[in-house]
Symmetry: C2
Subunit: 246 residues, 2 copies
């Protein structure tokens, strides 16, 4: 949890602090956990939610630690890791803007994965007890919560069917396709390190490197400094079709 945490409460009254209107004006509000709450609801919660910023590779929480809060991703990518006791880790899922992570906390459970920032990440940290309170009063919240849970479940299952199936090249292409969904304005995606690609797709760094290089030569991918790249979406589609996978 080596992050810059701004515990400054977020007040909503006009003018004031630059983050005053943060919750109400939050860009992801409509897709985020509290998006369904009205302003009255917001008044009750905005003082307890902490805004956080994490650097790449900073951990949001550790597997096994007590779950005291859930997090909404305002910006950036987070990966979920598990490692077997003999050392080799596997990345089992990634989450992005608008996703809710650490739901286990709502059940008073320890976190089931290591959650690590891929890019710089902006989070809202929501204490477990706060959600409990809200869940009692209104009932818009449970549904929204269930939605998050289902979304995470779906993501986990399609991780199996897309990223753990077939030859290495196809798996990589599927990964790129998925990363493209979190792309910036200019088709700039976050490109994992080679060993991270390996942990995601169950392959060695060497294989990951070879395949990335191949895609670079084919023009599907153009590397840019700092773990990022530009994707040619058309070429990617073509490559996927050539794999016999749409």
């Amino acid at each position: 949890m080596d992050a810059r945490v701004q515990t400054i409460p977020i007040y909503r009254q006009a003018g004031a602090h630059p983050q005053a209107l943060a919750c109400a004006a939050c860009e992801v509000r409509s897709t985020a956990l509290f998006g369904v709450l009205d302003d009255v609801g917001l008044d009750r919660i905005h003082t307890q939610i902490a805004s956080m910023t994490l650097a790449p590779d900073a951990t949001v929480y550790d597997r096994g630690s007590a779950g005291l809060a859930v997090f909404t991703i305002r910006e950036g990518l987070v990966r979920f890791e598990r490692s077997s006791q003999h050392g080799d880790r596997r990345i089992v899922r990634i989450a992005g803007r608008g996703d809710l992570i650490g739901q286990e906390a709502l059940l008073n459970r320890p976190y089931t994965d290591d959650a690590v920032a891929c890019t710089e990440v902006h989070l809202c940290r929501i204490p477990r007890v706060l959600v409990d309170q809200l869940a009692q009063g209104r009932d818009a919240l449970p549904r929204e919560l269930m939605l998050r849970w289902q979304k995470a479940l779906d993501a986990a299952e399609s991780w199996v069917s897309d990223l753990s199936t077939g030859p290495a090249r196809r798996r990589l292409l599927h990964l790129l396709e998925r990363l493209a969904q979190h792309a910036g304005a200019d088709d700039a995606i976050w490109l994992p390190r080679r060993d991270e690609i390996g942990a995601m797709l169950d392959m060695t760094v060497e294989t990951a490197s070879r395949l990335v290089s191949a895609l670079r030569r084919e023009g599907v991918l153009t590397l840019t400094p700092g773990r990022s790249a530009v994707l040619d979406r058309v070429a990617l589609r073509a490559a996927l079709l050539a794999e016999g996978a749409a």
Copy 2:
């Protein structure tokens, strides 16, 4: 949905029909969705829940179809399948006794996977609207629901880290370990067909066959007629340790 469905309502008053006390006396009640409801709650629901029995390979529901109900597994195993448009399917998760399946229905969503019976399966079919009603009145239910969702999510993620990681033999051993958790009294497990093992572990039928035969020769597995087998748990543990995976 080619099943024997007993739409006979399940009444709770004493004596009466053999299934009269079904809900109240349900063996899996403590672990099932409505386990937390008291008798009053049960009175309100038992008439709307249908008891079903499905034969092996019967489908519970199809991916994409309208989700009108969730199901509790009273007995047996259910697998979740996805198939890409060029034909090859992948089994992404299995669920067993006490698990809730088809939660998407609660969100008014189509089912995200094909759900297919592995063994003979006994289900309780719970209409979506019924859960909605209950969720409004009491609030024990939402928490129980969240628990199910989290359990499914955890299962999906560990499917990636256990069954989609490493060499074929280790993946198969992990699968057996998992199937052993659903074993009958005598360590008799449901053993998938070779092509089903292939769909679970992303390998060919031939590889699956070779590995199963090898384990049979090593005494880890003893085949018995009808897609089942007896496991030597000690030998399994030993084999897993030899793989460098606990």
